[in-house]
């Protein structure tokens, strides 16, 4: 680990096999508190598979994915927890989760890991506002007395819903979509849909936000706005960000820490400047063997 900040997420010896195909092979890395960690690599390197394992959509073939809320000293308990067979360990000063043991909705609900998708997955037939309210489902569900009190019009659902709308409005103001709040999400332009998906994920109040290629399909101006948004998420909300991205202007500008994957194996891990000049990384991106990098670079004019 390169940074001094305590680890939030610790991925250890993660392996994911699909039949004979090894998508991720013995991958270990960590993401720190209030940092932006980028996961990069050529197409098919296994980045999205890593995301799906972390967010619980895939069950890894091997490996451990730990996440801590609160006191970092809880990390010392991780081996005991692994042997114990429980999903999580809760103490007064925090909770330690083993994400590989949890189904995806609990990863989002309890471990507070939110994500976006490479191909945007909004509720296109619902309005922008409704999208942001669905993201606050679990807290609103409790406020509506698990529907029973809500149907009868009792309890504090009305005020909870107002608060949820206020929160949604704040996020809409931040991503510049207040005017479109009552339009269906599917009618928004592409860039706005990307921003809305991030806002929707943030409405779940995550500690770790996983963004799968947030800059894909954006123009340079939108990309710059996205960079600002991601930085503000890190600085104002103290949410850590895990980022898959191909756009190097995003990765190099905003990430604190970069992990490079190629064919499911980690080939570099460190601060952006170090990774940028790593021979192995350049070779992987150019698609040539290490020793041919110089020749290939000369060829493409680097």
């Amino acid at each position: 680990m390169t940074s001094a900040a305590p680890a939030l997420l610790e991925v250890e010896h993660l392996t994911m096999r699909f039949g004979g195909l090894i998508a991720v092979n013995d991958l270990s890395f960590s993401a720190s508190h209030s940092e932006i960690t980028a996961l990069i690599g050529p197409n098919g390197a296994g980045k999205t598979t890593v995301f799906n394992c972390i967010t619980g959509f895939y069950k890894p073939t091997e490996g451990r994915i730990g996440l801590v809320h609160g006191d970092p000293r809880l990390w010392s308990e991780i081996d005991a927890l692994t042997l114990g067979g429980e999903r999580k360990l809760t103490r007064a000063d925090g909770t330690l989760f083993l994400l590989e043991r949890m189904p995806e909705y609990l990863v989002a609900h309890r471990a507070k890991v939110a994500r976006t998708f490479q191909n945007i997955r909004l509720f296109s037939g619902m309005t922008v506002l409704e999208n942001l309210l669905v993201a606050q489902h679990n807290s609103l569900m409790i406020a509506s007395g698990y529907t029973v009190l809500g149907v009868l019009g009792l309890g504090r659902y009305a005020s909870a819903e107002r608060a949820a709308i206020e929160k949604a409005r704040d996020w809409l103001a931040r991503i510049g979509l207040v005017e479109r709040a009552d339009d269906p999400a599917g009618a928004l332009p592409y860039g706005a849909q990307r921003r809305l998906e991030i806002a929707r994920a943030m409405c779940t109040e995550p500690t770790l936000l996983c963004l799968d290629e947030p800059a894909a399909g954006l123009n340079p101006r939108e990309t710059a706005a996205l960079n600002e948004l991601i930085l503000s998420i890190r600085d104002e909300y103290k949410t850590s960000v895990l980022l898959i991205e191909h756009d190097m202007s995003v990765v190099m500008e905003i990430s604190d820490h970069v992990v490079v994957l190629d064919y499911g194996v980690k080939i570099a891990d460190g601060p952006p400047e170090a990774v940028r000049n790593d021979q192995k990384v350049i070779a992987a991106y150019l698609g040539v063997a290490d020793e041919e990098v110089a020749a290939a670079e000369a060829e493409v004019g680097l």
Partner: protein, 463 residues
């Protein structure tokens, strides 16, 4: 073709005319192939009981001529007219726009007012004897299906889970009421919630095994579930009396006063002449109250997190899970609440008929209810209500087509063509409104102004 024409849009060129004639010829050939065995040839038994083949060329060629002429008219007149209309910028007359907003604002209150006044209107217009038909055959029958449509709308329209076995819950509700009422003598209003709860329990039991299934697979398993319930009812003779069904089911009473001709009966107590219409009106208001309750609860649920989660589930299940929504519970509540309303309707059905048998719970019933939901526009309550009136009321009205005898001669039996006309109407409506009568989605909440969402953006759910 129209791109390089100096010709005004909508007129017919030579090329188009030749194309239209070609289309008409193809339609005529197809019609010949289709109608030759159906209409052109006919077998009749002669006096010696031998089958003879009879040909009906004039009738056959008249029909083929109609088809060809129809095709010509369509391509030369109707299609250009539609193209002209499409080409014109659509500017709505302000008065028309005002009418439309006023209509959508006042339609629901007016409709509710009408259904409340309906029995009185029927009494006033057709008298004591005639009103029985209008209240019982039309009013109650339609409202049962409105209620079933509302219930299924939760599962199919909101949560996007195609359930082809909904009649199972209707059956569970009906048999629960029938068996418990006969065995323990409990009253209708005590058993109504119980029957609903039992149906909801069966909804959960169906829900668990089918949680992982989507789309076609879900539809097949729910269909099988409906059949299983029916077959159990048929074969579990000691309890359900099998095919013979259960008769003598206690009828609902008016606060303990039965509707019969005895001295303690409703008519005698209130000093009225005995008539079956009182029971009819009473039952009408019960089912009306139940249907309105269903509509009200569904409207409220749509504005609660559970309702939004159902719709989100229909839109994108994976995104739902990524937001921490437990999709298992969400699906199960949709099944259970939908089933509960089906159970209410079922116990009402048993109480109204006084007799139930497995015949009433066939797949055709499930198909009818699904058709009501689809025709109405998935998710739209007003659409479902209109569709139920059109489908159930329509098939009942088609029994009354005696005037057609004047047109086609006294040998013509209109009831034979009931289902044919009905099918034709459904096909036409689906061409005209492929996403149902009400094709827009009303958002559950708005920041500034509520705007209807075009149906094209709303997903139908993949199971």
């Amino acid at each position: 073709m129209r791109a390089f024409g100096a010709r005004p849009a909508g007129t017919v060129s030579r090329v188009e005319f030749v194309g239209a004639v070609k289309d008409a010829a193809i339609a005529a050939v197809l019609a010949f192939g289709l109608f030759l065995p159906l209409i052109g040839l006919r077998t009749t038994q002669d006096i010696r009981n031998e089958l003879t083949l009879e040909t009906r060329w004039p009738l056959l060629f008249t029909l083929i001529g109609i088809v060809a002429a129809g095709s010509l008219v369509n391509s030369l007149v109707i299609a250009p007219w539609r193209a002209r209309r499409e080409a014109k910028p659509r500017v709505e007359h302000p008065a028309a726009a005002r009418f439309r907003t006023a209509f959508s604002r006042w339609f629901a209150p007016f409709a509710i007012g009408f259904v409340i006044a309906y029995p009185m209107l029927a009494l006033w217009l057709s008298g004591m004897q005639g009103a029985v038909k209008w209240v019982d055959n039309f009013g109650i029958q339609i409202l049962i299906y409105v209620m079933l449509g509302f219930g299924l709308n939760i599962v199919v329209g909101l949560a996007g889970l195609l359930d082809l076995g909904y009649v199972a819950f209707y059956a569970v509700g009906a048999y629960s009421y029938a068996l418990i009422a006969k065995e323990f003598g409990l009253s209708f209003f005590t058993l109504l919630p119980l029957a609903g709860m039992l149906a909801a329990l069966w909804g959960l039991m169906l829900g668990f095994p089918v949680l992982r299934l989507r789309g076609d697979y879900l539809a097949i398993v729910t269909l099988a579930f409906g059949e299983i319930i029916r077959l159990v009812i048929i074969n579990w003779v000691p309890v359900t009396n099998g095919y013979a069904g259960i008769s003598g089911i206690p009828r609902p009473t008016f606060f303990g006063i039965p509707f019969n001709a005895s001295d303690e009966g409703f008519a005698a107590v209130f000093g009225l002449p005995f008539s079956p219409i009182y029971r009819g009106i009473f039952l009408y208001y019960i089912i009306l109250a139940l249907a309105l309750l269903t509509a009200y609860v569904t409207t409220r649920l749509r504005r609660l997190p559970i309702g939004r989660a159902w719709e989100a589930l229909r839109e994108d299940e994976i995104a739902c899970r990524s937001l921490g929504i437990n999709t298992t519970n969400t699906k199960l509540t949709a099944f259970a609440i939908g089933a509960m309303f089906g159970g209410f309707a079922g116990s009402f059905f048993a109480a109204r008929q006084g007799f139930i048998s497995p015949e009433s719970f066939t797949f055709l019933e499930s198909a009818t209810i699904v058709a009501i939901v689809v025709l109405g526009g998935m998710g739209s309550q007003i659409g479902v209500a209109i569709a139920a009136v059109a489908m159930i009321g329509g098939t009942e009205i088609l029994r009354e087509l005696d005037f057609l005898k004047a047109v086609f001669g006294s040998g013509f039996d209109p009831t034979q063509y009931r289902m044919l006309l009905f099918g034709l109407a459904m096909v036409l409506i689906m061409i005209w409104k492929p996403r149902g009568l009400i094709a827009t989605r009303e958002p559950s909440i708005a920041l500034a102004k509520r705007k209807a969402i075009a149906g094209a953006l709303v997903k139908e759910g993949r199971g």
